[in-house]
Symmetry: C2
Subunit: 294 residues, 2 copies
């Protein structure tokens, strides 16, 4: 354990991500004090029962008093209001960040509330599970996973470096990307897969009828992986789609075109078109294994 | 280890499924002799090197001589030709089965070649991995997974019972289903998920451009699960789509409608429609966990 990077960290929101940051930061000695706050008394009580932080309260502003690092760990739709609520207690020199899966709208929502002298460095740890809430918090959630920082043109360089050191301290690999590129990349690697998984699980459920129990029974044939993704937090994901609309609609349009191409090939018995794509996608998996992300 | 169910089993095709049947049947002592045959000399040589069976040759008919159980373990498009090739050496009283993910066309392709006195019992083990070929063979592949038997109206009852005992001996749970219901259920639980996974991986690859390496790097956000599915055997899956066309096109049509519904909700900012679906699909995952198939 090395010298703590921060005296006090405040986490606004204490679910899967906030809770996991707390557990990991404590284990690795990255801060002397770690507190959290959430608007929900039930969630706060649960976080305290699980001892995720030194203390979890319901007064967001109070939690941030004297903090050197504040991370907003709410669904992206709540990042703006949460920042507004804590603005008055953010001390000069404090770093404020987030964990949102969308960056452009989160930046637009948070930035106007951040006082002069406070350093805003948006971030997105690309890690998670389908579970949510304080009980979903896990050690090692960030180990070997990427955390993307999307600094702004006027972000303080020392603050960006310090936040990078923090995420590396949690076990992450860190990369810096432009917010717009981030949103396009995540639209294809994360948002579209989730939307499709949600859709197919719903379609299967509707189709069921007298076959419904069989649909669940024989889920091992591929469907099972989709149900896991489609069990992710509804509020978080509603907010993602509402906030990354443009990029999601663009990739969705391309996906639809590609799917219609295959649908037509199936209808007309053009097996070679399917075979060619299936061969190409197999190579992509191999590239991913090569990159150690599979 | 109990009394062997069969004196001699012949496997036609020795990839992931055939190879895994061979390994498991030998370990569990379900047959005195297990042989295999494949048209590919390279595959046969590999199967022999890996000692998956007592012997693997390239003469399909010769392998089936004196066999009590013959299982055609080829991609579904090859089931008809393979059955035609072995028909002359199938002994009276022998059981012939398959492992195809489509049942109606496989039955239509195989049945005409099967001699009188040989018992045809179609089957489909709902198990697998994204790997293929003899080296993909695994012990425990069928443990706790369903094997669906789709007996024909005139299937011999004793033969069906014996094949059921064999699959249970391999560790599977067994259910008997009408071939048409099977094809509809698998279209939604397996075929559509695979088609979609193949599509999205292709879409992502095309989108890439200067972002391509980032798309792979940040795959942990959901995309990774799709790449695994989309790495499945191209020949097997081409054949599935060519052979279960009607059922796949039907579920694909419904899926497209449902996806357009969500697309429109995203475009018009109707978050409640997303939230309602996402909440419902989360429940479906819980039902699946309850059924121990997750």
């Amino acid at each position: 354990m090395s010298e703590p990077l921060f005296d006090k960290i405040a986490l606004i929101g204490i679910g899967l991500i906030g809770g996991s940051i707390a557990l990991e930061a404590r284990k690795r000695g990255l801060a002397k004090h770690i507190v959290a706050a959430t608007r929900s008394p039930e969630t706060a009580a649960l976080a305290n029962k699980l001892k995720l932080t030194d203390h979890c309260g319901t007064d967001l502003a109070e939690a941030c008093r004297d903090a050197d690092l504040v991370i907003v760990c709410t669904p992206v739709g709540a990042c703006g209001p949460a920042t507004k609520a804590i603005a008055s207690t953010l001390k000069p020199g404090c770093i404020i960040s987030d964990v949102g899966s969308v960056k452009q709208t989160v930046i637009a929502d948070m930035a106007p509330h951040i006082p002069k002298g406070v350093h805003f460095v948006p971030a997105h740890p690309v890690a998670g599970t389908e579970n949510s809430g304080p009980e979903a918090a896990l050690l090692d959630l960030f180990q070997g996973r990427w955390c993307i920082l999307t600094p702004l043109p006027d972000s303080d360089a020392a603050a960006v470096d310090k936040l990078e050191a923090f995420w590396k301290g949690l076990g992450s690999l860190v990369e810096r990307i432009d917010p717009k590129d981030h949103d396009r990349i995540l639209a294809i690697t994360s948002h579209l897969p989730h939307l499709i998984a949600y859709t197919i699980v719903g379609t299967a459920d509707d189709l069921g009828g007298h076959l419904n129990s069989e649909v669940l029974k024989f889920a091992a044939g591929g469907f099972r992986d989709f149900t896991r993704i489609a069990a992710s937090d509804p509020t978080m994901w509603r907010d993602v789609f509402m906030n990354n609309r443009e990029a999601v609609l663009e990739v969705l349009q391309r996906f639809q075109e590609d799917l219609f191409y295959l649908q037509r090939a199936i209808r007309w018995g053009e097996g070679d078109k399917l075979f060619d794509l299936f061969t190409r996608t197999r190579e992509i998996r191999r590239a991913l294994i090569h990159l150690h992300q599979a």
